[in-house]
């Protein structure tokens, strides 16, 4: 589903490499954790997939699309097919939870009634159906993260990316959020999660990729019977 072929990313302004010749193959329907210290390139790797940044070298293919050569005007189509959640949630504070989650559907031009149905389904999935008319500011960090997840999955994308979804959450909430992601993987979504919560990753036993200073350090396959 996602194919990295000696992909590198250099930040010329900072004068450092985000990624150095990473080759990686992620199959459809896989759930993969990406770990490493901060600055190891986890975020860069995730940001390259929906072309939030362009790779400086190598080939990157997502769902059969040669992403590194994708012309600018096709980027929105790519992003519509990839759900992303962010560490800082990236929600619009002047819109309700419902409106935030409905945005991808608005972009895709889904009719209003159908959109409302799907938004409610997504909010139900993350357990926030009761708060659909609330402003995101009033929500806790975990709840905002869940709104972000609902927004990422509302358009049923085949690929889901999450950057530090359990960032500053307590273990119980982290478990809950990870449970959400595994449930999406169970219905065939390819999921990539960047995290530094090694305990959690170990416990779940999915495939784990370790990055170090922009290079691939380890690629541990999933434990037997998982994924």
């Amino acid at each position: 589903m996602i194919h990295f072929d000696r992909v590198s990313k250099r930040y010329p302004r900072a004068g450092r490499d985000g990624l150095r010749g990473v080759s990686l193959e992620i199959a459809e329907g896989e759930l993969v954790f990406i770990t490493g210290h901060s600055g190891a390139g986890k975020t860069t790797l995730l940001r390259l997939i929906p072309l939030l940044e362009r790779p400086s070298g190598g080939r990157l293919t997502v769902a059969g699309v040669d992403v590194d050569q994708l012309p600018r005007r096709r980027i929105p189509l790519l992003r519509q097919r990839i759900g992303v959640t962010f560490q800082d949630h990236r929600l619009l504070q002047d819109r309700s939870v419902f409106e935030n989650v409905a945005m991808p559907l608005e972009i895709a031009g889904v009719p209003r009634r159908e959109a409302a149905r799907r938004v409610r389904a997504a909010l139900d999935k993350v357990g926030l159906l009761a708060k659909e008319q609330v402003d995101p500011v009033t929500l806790s960090g975990g709840e905002q993260q869940r709104v972000g997840i609902a927004r990422a999955v509302v358009n049923r994308p085949p690929v889901l990316l999450a950057d530090e979804p359990t960032g500053n959450l307590d273990p119980e909430l982290s478990n809950e959020i990870m449970g959400l992601f595994t449930s999406f993987q169970a219905i065939g979504t390819t999921v990539l999660i960047a995290t530094h919560d090694l305990d959690l990753v170990e416990r779940l036993g999915y495939r784990m990729i370790t990055l170090e200073q922009g290079e691939l350090r380890a690629d541990r396959p999933a434990r037997e019977g998982v994924g």
């Binding site: 072929d5 000696r6 972009i107 799907r118």
Partner: protein, 351 residues
Amino acid sequence: MSRRSGRADRGATPKRRRTRAEARRERAALRPGTRRDQPRSGRPPSAPLLYLLRHLQAAFAAAGRARRARLHTTLTTAVVGIALALPAAFLVALENIEEVAGGWQEGAPQASLFLEREAEPQAVREHAGEVAANEGVVDVEVVTPEQALAEFRAGSEFDAALELLDTNPLPPVLVVTADRSLTPEQVVSLAESLADDGRVVRMRLDQEWVERLHAMMNLAERALWSVGVLLALAVILVIGNTIRLTIESRRHEVEILKLIGGSNGFVRRPFLYEGMAYGLLGGVLAWVLTELGRWLLAGPTEQLADAYAADFALSGLGLAGGALVVATGLVLGLLGAWTAVARHLAAIEPR
């Protein structure tokens, strides 16, 4: 080979050219599936309808925003309205003046040819025939010295003085009426060609002031255009700046929309509609202001017209003129928004 892998380590894989087949495959992969694949209830509407719906969506979004930022909207609309009202009012004034001038010009232009005093009545009549044969001459009237003297006597109180003269001092005159359709310049050249004759002592043309008026009107019209162009530019800049500020204040939203796959068109549309809304409202305001001005001036104008015993009423923009002002506002609004959008939206890329 070793060179190749060495390069690959630095990630400098050479860019390949994409083949046509690859591009087609990619397009297929990015397409969200045809309409028929989607469940009946959630099927998006057909492409043209979807396009229209999106425009409606953007228009409503812009309207909603304008309603929320009422002061902002009011101020921008006022500036645009006043800027558009100035040239509109100027135009109305010019049209009214032209109408008045047209009324005064009624009656075809006339030129008087003063002939030699010794000319025989027979020769004068022949001369009149020659003049009448000229193109553009509608009528030639012969005024003999005797007729002129009689007219002069009747029209003045120089009776006693005239009695003292033993000969008639007045020359025979040909009053030439030119065709009404001739332009002032053509009338002048016609009169000059008639005067360019040994038998004609002097020529007087009764339209100098009309010419001057025409020249002034031309000047005013040119001035109107330059002022109009400048004000149109001002409207574009004002709306462009307003939209730029809006974009700046909604930067976060633009970023997020682009992040989750909003195309440039999708992000742009609400701002373009906002610009058009300012232009439209400003145009309507300009129309209202112009009509208000006319209404205020109607009384004094009537008094002035009465004083000149003229039958004249101020005409306004009319439906066509008003529509033109509103349409101009709309177009300028769109242009202004476009200048801002083109420069600032592309610069906002999601972090």
